[in-house]
């Protein structure tokens, strides 16, 4: 049923009748609001006396009519509404919402700002890891200041609990590398050099790297989630106001734990990787003893220590990044998740970049 609209002497009278249910409101909306707008600065009367029922959406239509007229600078009168209905509709006052602000951004400036933010973030992360390393030194000199229970718990989680998955992955990586390399070496009749290459690749590089990637996924994310949750539940604030330094209390035991366990774990991972590399050699009738002899001949103590040192550096960096992500957790339902993701991604990127830097450094130093 269309509304009855009459206009005379600058006054538009919109008479509505029947039931104002959802379907009818949808059909009427454009027509009625358009007519109210057409009234301009004049007077609009909405006659609702013949309405049998005004549903929730019906009231919204009346509010829209009222708002439209008031914004246009006109006057409006509603007839036939109950006092409660009129009070609700009258809340649709003539306050225009602010215009949405035009995005004051430009591709070039966005890229610049993002780059500067990333640099700030990098500088802050380096500073944090440096402070964590200093705290680590303090804790080693003053063992009484350590939270031993936390240290042992995290050592168990990041060391013993990580052992099976780290060794398994490292073993598979060793197997794949040896398997893929053999056809290429066969072309030059050098398949018997596989143990030499495996020794270098696994012990100097892949053992520590696979261990660090697992560490970033398991412990880095766990640190960010644990500390992030503590931040959200104000436990970090509680530590601060109790005069306890959150860095010393939360960061030091975690970073120290991974700094102890990761080099050890990396030794096991390297051994598993070397063993994995032997599996394709079974087809070539190479005995394990001969294979291991080849590996041993290819590397010396410096290569082994290089791998262990890398694992130690990776552990401090991943532990530091994980803890920092947790302490930087913002508020909101997705905050802890975002911190965890940041810890894992930043941790993996950092160790791979750092690995490149260390390779260059060792090469420059001739080791």
């Amino acid at each position: 049923m269309s509304p009855d609209v009459q206009t005379s002497a600058g006054t538009t009278v919109i008479a509505l009748e029947g039931e104002l249910d959802d379907v009818r409101v949808r059909n009427l909306w454009e027509d009625v609001v358009g007519r109210a707008r057409a009234g301009g600065t004049g007077s609009v009367v909405v006659d609702a006396t013949k309405l049998s029922e005004v549903g929730g959406t019906g009231l919204l239509l009346l509010a829209e009519i009222r708002r439209t007229v008031v914004w246009a600078g006109g006057t409006i009168e509603m007839r036939g509404l109950t006092a409660d209905q009129a009070s609700l509709v009258e809340r649709a006052v003539g306050h225009k919402p602010p215009e949405p602000r035009e995005e004051d951004s430009h591709f070039v400036s966005d890229v610049g700002e993002t780059a500067f933010r990333a640099l700030d973030e990098l500088a802050d992360t380096v500073r944090f890891i440096g402070e964590a390393a200093i705290d680590l030194g303090y804790a080693i000199r003053h063992p009484g200041s350590l939270r031993w229970r936390d240290l042992l718990r995290v050592m168990g989680q990041s060391g013993i609990d990580s052992m099976p998955v780290t060794c398994m992955l490292s073993g598979i990586v060793g197997f794949i590398i040896a398997y893929q390399m053999m056809p290429a070496l066969d072309r030059y009749g050098a398949a018997d050099q596989t143990p030499t290459i495996m020794g270098f690749a696994i012990i100097r590089e892949l053992g520590p790297l696979v261990t660090a990637i697992i560490l970033a996924g398991r412990s880095g994310s766990a640190f960010a989630a644990e500390i992030g949750t503590m931040k959200v539940t104000e436990e970090v604030n509680a530590l601060t106001t109790m005069g306890l330094n959150p860095e010393r209390f939360l960061v030091t035991p975690r970073v120290l734990a991974v700094a102890i366990t990761t080099p050890l774990l990396s030794v096991f991972a390297s051994f598993a990787g070397v063993l994995g590399g032997w599996l394709p050699m079974i087809a070539r009738d190479m005995s394990l003893e001969l294979y291991l002899q080849g590996v041993r001949n290819s590397i010396d103590q410096v290569d082994f220590l290089q791998g262990v040192f890398k694992a130690f550096v990776f552990a401090v960096v991943i532990g530091g990044i994980g803890c920092r992500s947790g302490l930087k957790t913002q508020v909101g339902p997705g905050a802890v998740g975002a911190s965890t993701t940041r810890a894992v991604v930043a941790g993996i990127v950092a160790i791979i970049v750092l690995d490149g830097v260390l390779v260059g450094l060792f090469h420059a130093l001739g080791i």
Partner: protein, 263 residues
């Protein structure tokens, strides 16, 4: 109610204080003093800046301008030293309790004592147990915080806040999330602790029954400019405070919003 005689020592002094975030004031014109042994309530509607003011008082936010003196230490001019001194003089109960989830209730309370390094292990356990007894939680001392109800966690947090023998105990929204009975029980506990220990309690709340039960004096925050609306005892303010404050204390919502000029 506790006495608030003029001769009593002032433990908190705020003068022309502005507090906010990143150097930008969100709450200005704060002027009050709190006497030793008082239960002082910071009240106001949601979003009026109560929590921001409390964060400044417990050293989590640096004041933007003015003077803020807690337990004799000036947080505006005193630098890190004053911040550390204030932290040694206060205890805080956070809204959700903020107990450390990996420690038992007893360990949570003992932690503060451990860091003091003054007592032996046995003494610390006895002290922590006594503190828990003061909040009726001694029989739950070996439970993990997750095994306690919300009200019990808050009571344990009060025991932890009092462990370092603070001059001032801050309570952030103690009634939030509690049923009326637990809330009333908590209020009685606060009054009992204040009277028996003589410590100063600063309570941030907007719960009117709590305010009338516990407050010796209160400051009401609010207004369009977010400032201090009034200070006094709840009874005084209800009877002769500014209209906004009387409406707040009488639980009367604001009058209907102004209508459009052209209606």
């Amino acid at each position: 109610m506790l006495t608030t005689a003029a001769s009593t020592e002032t433990v908190i002094e705020a003068k022309d204080l502005s507090v906010g975030y990143g150097g930008r004031a969100v709450l200005t014109g704060i002027n009050f003093t709190v006497a030793s042994g008082e239960v002082f309530v910071i009240a106001g509607g949601s979003g009026c800046g109560k929590s921001t003011l409390m964060k400044a008082m417990i050293t989590l936010l640096p004041p933007v301008a003015g003077t803020l003196r807690i337990a004799g230490h000036d947080l505006v001019t005193g630098g890190d030293e004053a911040v550390n001194d204030v932290r040694r003089s206060i205890g805080v109960m956070y809204q959700g309790g903020a107990l450390f989830g990996g420690l038992t209730v007893l360990e949570n309370v003992r932690l503060a004592l451990e860091e003091q390094g003054l007592f032996t292990w046995t003494e610390m356990n006895s002290l922590a147990l006594s503190l828990l007894a003061m909040v009726d939680l001694d029989e739950h001392c070996n439970k993990m915080p997750s095994a306690l109800s919300g009200g019990m966690q808050k009571r344990a947090a009060v025991a932890r806040a009092m462990a370092m023998n603070p001059q001032i105990v801050f309570l952030d929204e103690p009634s939030a999330g509690l049923d009326p009975i637990s809330s009333a029980g908590f209020d009685q506990m606060v009054v009992r602790l204040a009277r028996s220990t003589g410590r100063t309690f600063v309570v941030v709340t907007h719960e009117l029954p709590s305010i009338f039960t516990i407050a010796d004096r209160m400051v009401v925050l609010g207004g369009a400019q977010k400032t201090q609306l009034a200070i006094g005892s709840p009874k005084e303010l209800l009877e002769s405070g500014p209209p906004d404050v009387r409406r707040f204390l009488a639980r009367q919502p604001e009058e209907d919003r102004p209508q459009g000029a052209a209606s």
